[in-house]
Symmetry: C2
Subunit: 246 residues, 2 copies
Amino acid sequence: MDYFELYHPGLSVDCVIFGFHDNELKVLLLKMKNSKQWAVPGGFVKKQEDVDDAAIRVLKERTNIEDIYLRQFHLFGQKNRSDDSYVDSLVQDHVIREDMDSWFRQRFITVGYFALVEFSKVTPSPDQNSERCEWVPLTNIPDLILDHQEIINEALKALRNKLRFGPVGKNLLPPKFTMTELRTLYETILGEELDRRNFQRKMLSFGILDKLDETRKGGAHKAPFLYSFNEEKYNQKLIKGFDTIW
Amino acid sequence: MDYFELYHPGLSVDCVIFGFHDNELKVLLLKMKNSKQWAVPGGFVKKQEDVDDAAIRVLKERTNIEDIYLRQFHLFGQKNRSDDSYVDSLVQDHVIREDMDSWFRQRFITVGYFALVEFSKVTPSPDQNSERCEWVPLTNIPDLILDHQEIINEALKALRNKLRFGPVGKNLLPPKFTMTELRTLYETILGEELDRRNFQRKMLSFGILDKLDETRKGGAHKAPFLYSFNEEKYNQKLIKGFDTIW
């Protein structure tokens, strides 16, 4: 396969895939072959492919799901993102074949995307350069290649910003959830505790939740009510945002 | 000059430069040589240059100012952004020389930046492919090349979003301004009228303004007080945003 023939030169996409599980925010990472380092799933952009479609393709290959909430958040364009010693190590560790050497020695800019997925729906699949594909808690990220730690940091910032002016929960939670589960998700993303009553009041005021006629059974406490997102109103807020200050 | 030698392949930057003048939001546009079409200022990225630095360079060349408020807002990566007929017309209109033909026939992705500048400080300068460089009101944009109309639309969306959760006025206004001038700027960006009292109350509540001991003289009405942005508090809000809903 001739990479130069098939792909847009000097361009890649990298996807930070967020999932919520065990009250933790996790990202899907690849363990590189013959190396201790990990990487954010990514790939190249075909010459006849929109850049956004390349990201959708990579996500489908790694998670085996489609229709993912996916947003471009930043272009990483620093000239020293990579260097020859990095490619040397890839060749030495047999992560890439020698005949791909000149492709990988190009300067690459990469388009960062973040995705929000429902944890249970994902079947992680490694790519040709990796031996494992796993969910890793954000609090316990291993050593990553290149600027991938920065890419994750920026993705988290972008996700927090989204939370500030529109809804995000729907893509990360199962269809039915308690108010506590929703608040825990928000607390986890924001990295801070939120007041239980204030959160419930504000969240209900947006009108995006339907209170169901069901409760979550099995806990020690009084069984809490279940909620689901009201599809129509949620999508309206997704476009218009919560009421703005102006 | 060998473009392939000097520049990163298939990559450009385009800068939507916003200024505020005569109660209107304007953008700086280039009139293409021998063509009726206009373009957003842009350029290529040198092999040894960060992508952000390429945007800074383009802006300095077109506006003759440095230290501009500049933000990446979107990567335009559609495969059909350009086509051969577009390059044919560039060659035919002598906008580009024939020996640059193969460079321009590449598929280009472009990184969109928007800039906020103080109108009076800018000295517009055309580039080698254009005959004029002018401020054009957003309400009166002429026919533009490629997807440049979409690039402007997306830049405006990004600017409006900025306004929703942080301050933006400082880069668009002169150092001293009245509350009415500030409100007019916000109304113009948002494209809607704002309540005079509410605006003043909210704006003052952010604590980013210093009320000066001076008034604007010369009007028919009682001379209004002048304000300036408090540098330190403004910059804090720029980083932290206005108080969020959570």
